[in-house]
Subunit: 347 residues, 2 copies
């Protein structure tokens, strides 16, 4: 049993400790790192296995880590709908801990669809938000670009996109201390009249919100995501998911080509050795684990969804980010933004 | 006046010689290079200006280059609809030369929308093709990926996507000697049931075409474009345009970061000098000018559309590609594929 409410320490983060392609190992490793940085973590999963994994980290017994037993886990190849009946599945235990006020946030590197479904079913939506979205980050000139929806909704309405712009604006204020982040609407031309029927409608809504909760820059194109033209880029979940996976795939293939180029011929190999350090720094910059996980934004609870292939660094960063979101009172601030503005501004 | 029909030489390619961000210079330069490689070119634009530009290339008088006078040009910032009334605009002269059998293909680095509109109005559509698409190429592991629609149609029907798969298959057979190219449908998961409503419908159509004009691999994700999972990737023109511009933007920003990384500190700078050659090779591989221009496929005439920022190499490669398409009888083969198969296979 836990005693999260009993003491005055900040609430722990519930980690779906068996979730992801590599099982418990990177989750426990990342949790240990986060705990060392002062974040309390509940490891949700099979007690015996997690205990054994924790034993590999000397001194972990003294860290603010607790195990919460859960013997079922939604496999990566199962259907997300399975979440509904399986109350004992680790992801459902995580979201229930949050719902009951015993954890600050749920974090999972497991089945994305199952995590979304569990969070939506358990938390419900923030009033005024029609659909939650996956908010993620991509590296960009001058920092990073925040992109949403990265894949929660394949078919969307313009009103969703407008709501996502408002949610992301609050998110960047709380998590990144950005006072007035700019919002771009992803399109196929910068002109207002260009784009799909959806984009043209969303453009009009976003234009109406400018100065009322968002700082609308106008349409942006695919290239602007890496150029960092705006802080936030909003789009439907189909395009956003393609963007995210294309960006990762291109970086991976380009680094492969660079490695190839620097390993053919003596001169290149020597040069390659000399530039190894800076290139590794660049690879880290392109690495999705830097940002840890994406938030499912728009639900009435904090839920973070990571890559199935997440390593310990990604898990640690996700846990730190989740703790920061809770400390910054992200959820009440999102609710206030929607509650206070309802009726005053065009939906 | 020209004498294209009079002799037995292959038909020339009509180049919109004033089109693009940099005016006549890269067009004329590229045309000279293509002519030296044996391609006949009609330079369509202001005679005096083109004559002056040609004068910069010693020996160009002996090359198979002719000027066709056109004093009007659709500016890069004008509306594409302007094409309709302006019969004397260079792009309209180009497409009319093709329509009249005096040129094999029209090539323009100018206003993309105007080029599409002019080609569609002048040529009409191939029977059985509801909408023409922009077919383009992206670098990929093992070669390149052919992507369409890269931006002609922001809102599409599933039947368009199925037709584009058939067009692209014939294109790769003719232009790249690929006997049975694989087709992937861009989605947000490899499973058949994942994706937008459009994708799910298109998937069923493509499945029905498998073995009847196309070699359908199934759904692919954003990362597969660079991994080269399939030879062809079909998608709507909104997503395709975002993909194209994102891919270019990411490559540009990554190369900027590489340059930065290799110019800080003596060791890196020295290493940078040693690896300059291989990295330049990689930059060339990522350079859109390698492929020259994209074809507007599905119209009853050959039209190639390039980047506004095209350099002479891109112009040359576009002209060579256009000549190859004509020599390979691309258009009759596209028409035959649709004509012969109509009624036999599911539309």
């Amino acid at each position: 049993m836990m005693s999260a409410e009993a003491d005055s320490a900040p609430l722990p983060i519930a980690l779906d400790a068996a979730g992801g392609d590599h099982g418990a190992a990177p989750n426990v490793d990342g949790a240990v790192q986060a705990a060392r940085a002062g974040v309390r973590v509940l490891l949700v999963g099979e007690r015996v296995a997690l205990h054994a994994e924790l034993g590999k980290f000397p001194g972990s017994a003294a860290l603010p880590l607790e195990i919460v037993d859960a013997n079922d886990v939604i496999g990566m190849d199962e259907h997300a709908a399975g979440v509904r009946g399986r109350t004992g599945a680790s992801i459902n235990v995580c979201t229930r801990l949050v719902k009951e006020g015993r954890a600050a946030a749920a974090v999972s590197m497991g089945h994305s669809g199952a995590t979304m479904a569990s969070a939506l079913l358990t938390f419900g939506r923030i009033g005024g938000v029609e659909r939650p979205a996956i908010l993620t980050h991509l590296p960009a000139r001058g920092g990073m670009t925040t992109l949403l929806d990265a894949g929660a909704n394949a078919d969307v309405k313009a009103s969703y996109v407008a709501q996502w712009a408002r949610l992301a604006t609050v998110y960047l204020k709380v998590l990144e201390d950005q006072e007035n982040p700019t919002v771009g609407l992803l399109s196929i031309g910068e002109e207002d009249h260009k784009g799909s029927a959806l984009v043209i409608e969303a453009h009009a809504l976003l234009r109406g919100l400018h100065g009322h909760g968002i700082n609308f820059h106008g349409n942006v194109e695919g290239r602007d995501i890496f150029l960092g033209t705006t802080d936030i880029v909003v789009t439907d979940g189909f395009t956003g998911n393609v963007v995210l996976k294309l960006a990762e795939g291109e970086a991976r293939v380009m680094f492969g080509w660079i490695r190839e180029a620097l390993s053919s011929g003596l001169k290149s190999r020597l040069g390659g050795l000399l530039v190894r350090g800076p290139l590794r720094g660049l690879a880290e910059r392109m690495d999705p684990s830097t940002y840890g996980a994406s938030i499912l934004i728009g639900v009435r609870g904090l839920a973070f969804i990571g890559h199935g292939s997440a390593n310990a660094t990604a898990v640690k960063n996700a846990l730190l980010r989740a703790a920061r979101a809770h400390e910054g009172k992200l959820l009440p601030r999102l609710e206030a933004a929607f509650g206070a503005q309802a009726g005053k501004i065009p939906q």
